[in-house]
């Protein structure tokens, strides 16, 4: 039967091919679009996952000062952000909290000999590596002893170390940051080269590969809480006790339960909103919602193109039925039942749509492969997108083939035979 269908279609090779083209493009676009969409959202989700679904990040932000007082305040020190007291309050009152990681972030320069690089000083506690998933590549990370005795030690990111020490082993060398010298005790590698979490007022991520980690205690004794930036004709000082606090919870349920109490706790002690929450699990959910909408839109566009392809098939099959009325008459006279005629035309339509579907799948898998090869976009061809696209193309064949086939079968054999 399939053999017979192919034979009839081969009678008009070009026409059959053009008819299939609609389905080929439809299926191909479904798979390719979903693969690209999936790849894009996968990257975003990976970045969010790195923040840890069990974590809540509380970050200090400079409150939007009202412009009228801006001038008067200029010479004063901007005092804002989360305080150590806040951290103690959170520790004492938020349920389900397993660990709290305070951090100070200071933009400065690091020097070794004559080599100088801009860097970010991260003053934190020894379990930083556990919570952020930072990998130690050489030496060790900070220890409680370092923190307790406020020792002048530091850990560099591997990228920064290779820039600072092109020719020698950085371990046990001393680098200068600010006014002090720090002994390099280890090298680490961050999980990403960029911090992709959304930041207010910044379009690109914050680089993570030029960090210097020092004990929190050391930072307190070296810098105090006030940092001063002097530029040509400008003077900026700010007093921030903690730039960021990462709260690690036991599980995601605890995270969700903690968000509201955290908010009310902090808002009680902060008149201006000089802090923000980043809840990775919520971001992840939001990303998933966005993805779902995205997929729905892509899916609709693709479904429409498949529909158009299906209409093309129906159009051709109706023309074919008219053209082959006589053949239908002959077959009916020679003993074909209505059912046989329906089957014959349905098989032809299915050969067109499934054949088109198969070619479309091949292209649909091939296109994302090429996209990934020739651009830096990531693509993921999911099994279900292939299954859905192929399934729809087969369904289109049945739906749009049935009407022409029934019309063919319902022709009166006498009239059909007389048809010229």
């Amino acid at each position: 039967m399939i053999h017979l269908g192919i034979k009839s279609l081969m009678l008009h090779k070009l026409r059959s091919f053009l008819t299939m083209l609609g389905i080929i493009f439809g299926v191909c676009s479904v798979i390719a679009m979903l693969a690209i969409g999936e790849g894009a959202s996968h990257e975003a989700q990976e970045a969010i996952k790195k923040l840890g679904p069990n974590n809540v990040i509380v970050r200090s932000i400079k409150p939007a000062g009202d412009p009228s007082s801006g001038g008067a305040r200029r010479s004063f020190v901007a005092d804002y952000g989360i305080t150590r007291l806040d951290a103690e309050r959170i520790k004492a009152s938020i349920p389900g909290l397993s660990r709290l990681l305070p951090m100070r972030l200071i933009r400065d320069e690091v020097r070794f000999g004559t080599i100088k690089f801009p860097c970010q000083v991260v003053a934190t506690l020894p379990y930083y590596t556990d919570i952020t998933g930072t990998r130690i590549v050489h030496g060790r990370f900070l220890t409680p002893t370092d923190d307790f005795y406020r020792q002048n030690v530091c850990v560099l990111t591997a990228a920064l170390a290779s820039s600072l020490f092109p020719y020698q082993n950085p371990l046990d060398e001393h680098v200068k940051v600010g006014d002090g010298y720090y002994k390099v005790v280890g090298l680490v590698e961050e999980r990403g080269t960029e911090d992709k979490r959304p930041q207010s007022g910044m379009t690109s991520g914050q680089p993570l590969d030029s960090n210097i980690y020092i004990p929190l205690g050391t930072a307190a004794s070296r810098w105090g809480d006030t940092t001063v930036k002097r530029g040509a004709g400008s003077f900026e000082a700010e007093k921030v006790e903690l730039h960021q606090v990462t709260l690690q919870f036991k599980d995601t349920d605890a995270v969700e339960a903690a968000v509201a109490p955290l908010n009310s706790l902090l808002s009680r002690f902060h008149k201006d909103k000089d802090y923000e929450f980043i809840v990775p699990i919520e971001l992840l959910r939001q990303a998933e919602r966005t993805k779902r909408i995205f997929n729905f839109v892509l899916g609709s566009i693709a479904a429409i193109s498949l529909l158009v392809g299906g209409i093309g098939i129906m159009n051709i099959m109706l023309a074919t039925v008219t053209e082959r009325t006589r053949e239908i008459g002959i077959r009916r006279a020679l003993g074909a039942k209505k059912k046989d005629i329906v089957t014959q035309f349905l098989v032809e339509t299915l050969v067109l749509s499934i054949g088109g579907g198969l070619i479309g799948v091949a292209f649909g898998v091939g296109v994302p492969f090429l996209v990934e090869r020739f651009s830096d976009m990531k693509t993921i061809v999911t099994f279900w997108s292939v299954a859905i696209a192929f399934g729809i193309s087969a369904a289109v064949g049945i739906v749009f083939g049935l009407y022409p086939a029934r019309r063919a079968a319902n022709l009166d054999p006498i009239d059909a035979l007389r048809h010229t």
Binding site: S8, I330, A333, G335, D340, L417
Partner: protein, 238 residues
Amino acid sequence: MSGKAIVRIKGITKIYDLGEVKVKALAGVDLEIQPGSYVAIMGASGSGKSTMLNILGCLDRPTQGQYFLGGLDVAHMPDDELSNARGKQIGFVFQSYNLIEQLTVIENIHIPLFYQGKSLEDHYDHCLKLAHLVGLGDRIEHRPKQLSGGQQQRVAIARSLANEPLMILADEPTGNLDSHTGQEILDLFDRLNAKGTTIIMVTHGEETASRAQRVIRMHDGKIASDTINPGRSSIAAN
């Protein structure tokens, strides 16, 4: 002359309802056809000859009356069974050959078997034998377009024999052929009839009709005359 007639028609009428007017194409026809006979049906346009052929070929159902085809009451059969009866009991030969162009000669011969659920693989020898019978044993892989009119009609005849039907129903089989080729086709019919095949042929031509044993002339939806052809009666007696 009765008992095992393959076609037994009693009081058949066929009325076409065209809305305002009703056209009576057949007005009470009785007919019996014995196995092995060679019958020509003649008549002018509008005499009911085509309607007669359609009903005989189970392509149409009579408005009234009875039609037994080889013992089967086909007058009021449902569509599927009627298709089956056509496929099994009747071999059609048409004026314009009506081969299916995308199929080869042997595949065309196989079509009636196909609709009886018999595969070409299993019945290849049978189909090949039929192709040889009509003298086209060396053309089985050709397509209809590669054959002459006479050859195409031979394929059609081979096809009509595929299911070993009760009778061959030929509608102006020589109408599209030149007289020489027409004679060849009629010779083929003679040979088949001599071997016992029942043939019913609708024709305009007196000369063509003269090949048959029995000539039925129709007029105004009725049988006007039903005569035994004197020149052929000797063969009929066989």
